[in-house]
């Protein structure tokens, strides 16, 4: 049995829940196992996971689980996994997942492979693959025989097509302790796709010269339906909020499209974005190291070229809708 932890926010699944469901059900299919999901806290409609190959959802519907608590989540998942005899638990490598993965693996007396971005079955054996050295290399691990906890990096795979199937929802009551750590405040941008989940990202750096110039970046992101990001010097000097900082010390992302504008491409920045599927670099310096990591490059003054790119996107959208 494979048990996946499907994350939600305000009673709805996050995008990574569908990725995990797709991932878990594919492993189940290729290794001849069953896959079930656990949903913690209030939820409007857990059965939609059936769309992504998960036939059964265990819903632990307790509002004390609406906010992440490492001890409570550990208790619930460990108990359920024990009851179901789950030998593999898959959870997302998100803020919540990062707080839970190591703890859960010890509590379950399971092995642990965190931050994977794929799996493969070789000669009947299940293997997990994860980026190491900030994406500069990959490591393959054999799943082996024992119990295992695996966390999946968001945006690692394309969500499967919705099948229209509904999952059977089983309401569960499970006792748990709590960590005693209290959530006092949550300051999260709303109405915008958070960076780790974004498929399209427009990012800008010091080449913007000053924060008041960000209008053209926001305009491009808006027309494209992208999330905005920035380089470290930009967030360090307070031009943009800290949560937009991508790179080695900020967050690592893997969107389908990363457009880097006025960012030279220091090795620490590349470490956070080099797993993007396609990279476009706009920079007036032909020697900018970022061009070497890019798929498409535009060597020009960004203040000149970005508004024209926005215009071209707008035109494209108008023609294709």
């Amino acid at each position: 049995m494979i048990l996946i932890i499907a994350e939600s926010k305000e009673g709805k699944f996050k995008k990574n829940a569908f990725e995990i469901a797709t991932f878990g059900s594919r492993i189940a299919q290729e290794t001849g196992r069953e896959c079930a999901a656990v949903v913690l806290g209030s939820h409007e409609n857990p059965s939609v996971l059936g769309n992504y190959g998960v036939p059964r959802v265990y819903h632990v519907n307790n509002d004390k689980l609406d906010n992440f608590d490492d001890v409570a989540y550990r208790d619930v998942v460990t108990k359920l996994a024990g009851e179901l005899n789950a030998e593999l638990v898959v959870l997302p490598h998100t803020a919540e997942g990062k707080g839970l993965t190591g703890k859960l693996s010890v509590a379950m007396d399971a092995g642990c492979i965190s931050a994977v971005n794929g799996f493969k079955v070789v000669a009947g054996e299940l293997n997990f693959v994860r980026p190491v050295f900030s994406g500069k290399a990959f490591a393959t691990y054999k799943a082996g025989e024992g119990k295992l906890v695996v966390s999946l990096i968001p945006n690692s795979l394309q969500i499967g097509e919705a099948t229209g199937d509904e999952a059977e929802v089983i309401n569960k009551e499970i006792d748990f302790r709590s960590s005693g750590i209290e959530l006092v405040e949550k300051n999260v941008v709303t109405g915008e796709v958070p960076l780790p989940e974004a498929e399209l990202v427009v990012s800008a750096g010091r080449g913007m010269k000053e924060p008041s110039n960000w209008g053209i970046i926001e305009e491009l992101a808006d027309k494209l339906g992208a999330t905005t990001a920035c380089s470290r010097p930009v967030s360090d000097s307070g031009w943009r909020p800290h949560h937009e900082h991508v790179g080695q010390t900020g967050i690592a992302i893997r969107p389908n499209l990363y457009i880097a504008i006025g960012i030279s491409g220091a090795i620490q920045h590349l470490a956070g974005v080099n797993n993007s599927k396609v990279i476009v670099v706009i920079n007036k310096d032909p020697e900018a190291p970022f061009f070497k990591a890019a798929d498409y490059g535009v060597c020009a003054d960004l203040f000149d070229v970005v508004p024209r790119l926005t215009e071209a996107i707008e035109k494209f959208k108008a023609e294709n809708n």
Binding site: G99, G102, K103, S114, V132, F133, I181, H243
Partner: protein
């Protein structure tokens, strides 16, 4: 306060990434090794700041061979009071966390610090494992911590923002950027570090987790395709038709 900081040794950020011929291990020859930056710049320094405001002692601990003493000495030079090295090669996070837990279980540390992840394996699971082994809560990816009257108020990075948490009692915390500012050891610190205690502890018999079967380098990236700045319609066409991302 009784503070413990867990530190790792990693290749320098600019070290070449290559592997042994059988692909089983990182090629260490000719590489420079450093204290993992998240452990040094943020976890250790925040612990030192706490000691400076609240009093107490900062112990740094590492699981590794004698060649790791250099990073422990650096930690002492930055300001830690005492270093502990558990004498064993750590094959993975579970082994390292179990060793540290064995050492820490009867020592009554108020807060145990570590970095959010090491810059080589990027696993980020050590802190959670240690917390579980010691039956403590785990606060991961902390970017700010205030401490007053025995209570910590912690900001933690989450998708698209931050969460503010209030702790109650002991805990394990993993540090991300922002928790503190890097400190460079001065000459006095380096001289004093030579006289500070570095205890070598025999390793306990503990479990290990799954190990790497094979390391591989990603395929070479193709040449960048330059697009005429006057023709952004062409870039949009390429992104749509060739790259298929919009």
């Amino acid at each position: 306060m009784n503070l413990l900081v867990c530190v790792s040794k990693t290749p320098d950020t600019t070290a070449k990434v290559d592997f042994s011929e059988d692909g089983k291990s990182y090629n260490e020859s000719g590489k420079q090794f450093i204290m993992n930056p998240y452990d040094e710049w943020y976890a250790l320094v925040r612990a030192l700041e706490l000691k400076e405001s609240e009093g107490g002692e900062v112990v740094i601990i590492n699981v590794g061979p004698a060649s790791n003493d250099s990073i422990l000495r650096k930690g002492l030079a930055i300001g830690a009071d005492k270093a502990v090295r558990i004498d064993a090669e750590a094959p993975d996070a579970l082994f390292a966390a179990s060793q540290v837990a064995e050492y820490a279980k009867d020592k009554d540390f108020d807060i145990i610090f570590t970095g959010k992840e090491t810059i080589d394996y990027n696993g980020g699971i050590f802190g959670g494992m240690l917390a579980e082994l010691l039956d403590l809560p785990f606060v991961s990816f902390a970017s700010k911590m205030d401490y007053q009257d025995g209570q910590a108020t912690i900001e933690r990075d989450v998708e698209g923002g931050v969460e503010v948490l209030k702790t109650n009692g002991k805990f394990v915390i993993s540090a991300s950027k922002g928790l503190a500012e890097q400190r460079i050891p001065n000459m006095r610190g380096i001289m004093m570090a030579k006289r500070k205690p570095l205890e070598v502890v025999e390793a306990a018999d503990v479990k290990t987790g799954p190990s790497v079967d094979k390391f591989e380098l990603p395929p070479e990236k193709g040449e960048v395709k330059m697009v005429d700045p006057e023709n952004m319609e062409e870039l949009v066409r390429l992104l749509h038709e060739e790259a298929k991302v919009i």
